[in-house]
Symmetry: C2
Subunit: 301 residues, 2 copies
């Protein structure tokens, strides 16, 4: 739609001029009313140290987690490259698909040993598969129930402001090999970092024209010999997927992608992020030197 490009350019440039290029930092939790002002403005913020007094932040090291979850089996998302739900070129289909992970049940201890060794053992094969506990089905109140008492039941300022309990509380356990590709969710989202770091790249909903959303086939990884194949989901409709990556801005760009000015924020243990509904976000992870080699976060939505 070339006749639309100039007004869209003006709109995005104006937005960039009027809005800050960093995520606002608070150093204490907002009141419900203050929070609601951010919701009304559809604006993210980070509370530095907002969860620093949680039991989870203080107690969850690898020994504690292994003891608390002894004998538990957990759902694990497995991919060859840490590319769950990402745009992936499938040579077999000669098309970009959204690559859904292979999901399997593993003993927590085996899964946890694997991600830590992959992160910390220099001899671990570089091309080894990537595992990520990332079921977003309220898992902290299900598979990881033994850990639930160490976290909060909810985020009080959000519960009071929105007038409802969280729909789901999800635990995310992985290592630096997993990346969550740029996407958006239809929920108000509070992310709480417990162990390691998460690196968020954020883009407001207005920048839709920059992310090159395309309708793609959904395909799921299946184990095949030592590796993986992508099997297109039978009878599944095409799904919309952002195919532009803010970390590779030249690839898959639209004429307007150059106007995107993503906000970047890193969560350290104890930090909270308010991620407004419908904001695009890409999430990377890292383990600081001297850490135990895993990354753990909780989100409420």
């Amino acid at each position: 739609m070339p006749e639309l490009q100039q007004p869209l350019e003006n709109l995005l440039n104006t937005f960039n001029e009027l809005n800050p290029s960093t995520v606002e930092e608070l150093f204490a939790e907002p009141s419900p009313l203050e929070f609601m002002r951010y919701v009304a403005r559809n604006t993210p913020f980070v509370v530095r140290g907002g969860a620093s007094t949680w039991k989870a932040t203080k107690k969850w090291d690898s020994a504690y987690l292994r003891t608390a979850l002894e004998g538990q089996s957990v759902n694990v998302a497995v991919t060859p490259f840490g590319n769950a739900d990402a745009p992936t070129f499938s040579p077999e289909h000669n098309a970009t698909v959204i690559s859904k992970p292979h999901e399997e049940t593993q003993q927590f201890d085996d899964f946890f040993t694997y991600i830590i060794q992959q992160e910390t053992d220099p001899a671990f094969p570089l091309d080894s598969e990537v595992r990520y506990a990332q079921t977003q089905n309220d898992n902290l109140r299900d598979e990881y129930l033994p850990l639930y008492p160490d976290a909060q039941r909810d985020i009080p300022f959000a519960r009071i402001a929105l007038g409802k309990e969280p729909d789901a509380i999800n635990l995310w356990i992985g290592n630096s090999r997993s990346t969550t590709a740029l996407h958006k969710d239809n929920f108000e989202n509070i992310f709480v970092q417990i162990v390691g770091r998460k690196h968020f790249v954020l883009l407001p909903p207005l920048f839709h024209a920059c992310v090159n959303e395309d309708l793609v086939l959904p395909a799921t990884y299946v184990r095949q010999g030592e590796g993986f194949a992508l099997a297109v989901d039978p009878d599944s409709p095409l799904v919309p997927l952002a195919t532009w990556d803010p970390d590779e801005p030249e690839r898959n760009a639209t004429p307007l992608s150059a106007l995107a000015r993503p906000l970047r924020v890193t969560l350290e243990p104890g930090d909270m992020l308010y991620l407004p509904a419908m904001w695009y976000h890409k999430v990377k992870q890292s383990c600081p030197d001297g850490g135990e080699g895993f990354v753990l976060a909780i989100n409420y939505w």
Copy 2:
């Protein structure tokens, strides 16, 4: 842009399906947090009787107003048809212009007698000019200061929620001959009806494609003999104006105007309306039988 019409139709139809066709009614003022939820959802509401205990609502009849404002002169907007700031066809320019009122200073008593007689005296000439006290320059704390103690300094739920005092408090005094044409403002707005009725027609910002916004010349009425002429403002840029009227939906329609489903709400004395920023609104007025023949409201923004 014909290729945009189908997605816009889908968007507007979906909005209509998911949203109520009436303005939500409350029967007590919301808390600041409840108010902020409406702001966040960009959704209007009316508080029936929210200002019924105000001194203004109880005391402001014509005798009281004449006494309180004795000797005051006030700014009056004068138009031939009650069409201040409306799209008006100017035969002289062979174009639709936005017709700004002639403004003049009148003794309050003279102005007030005029609008009441025009409303109530069957012998009053039908083609007589229309007068409306509608300066939106914080007039309740200026020209009408003697009345200010009878109104509230602010709307507490809005002041606390938005974290600021009102920028302006405006008094509006007129009769059923004045109509405010469909337009939008960049302010959160609380309307409080004191005397008579205001009939609001509301349309969410999303319905931009229905209101046939056009760039028009601004022109101002000037007295000419017994009547008026429209003089184009010198050196003024064209201004955007909604040229579609929800009460005459066939005229000046766009291909999408038929999808507009305006919300209609009538304010009775003591009612409050929250009108979110950027919502289109058209406002008519009426004087119930047995009333004194004027309409008076206050708005806070």
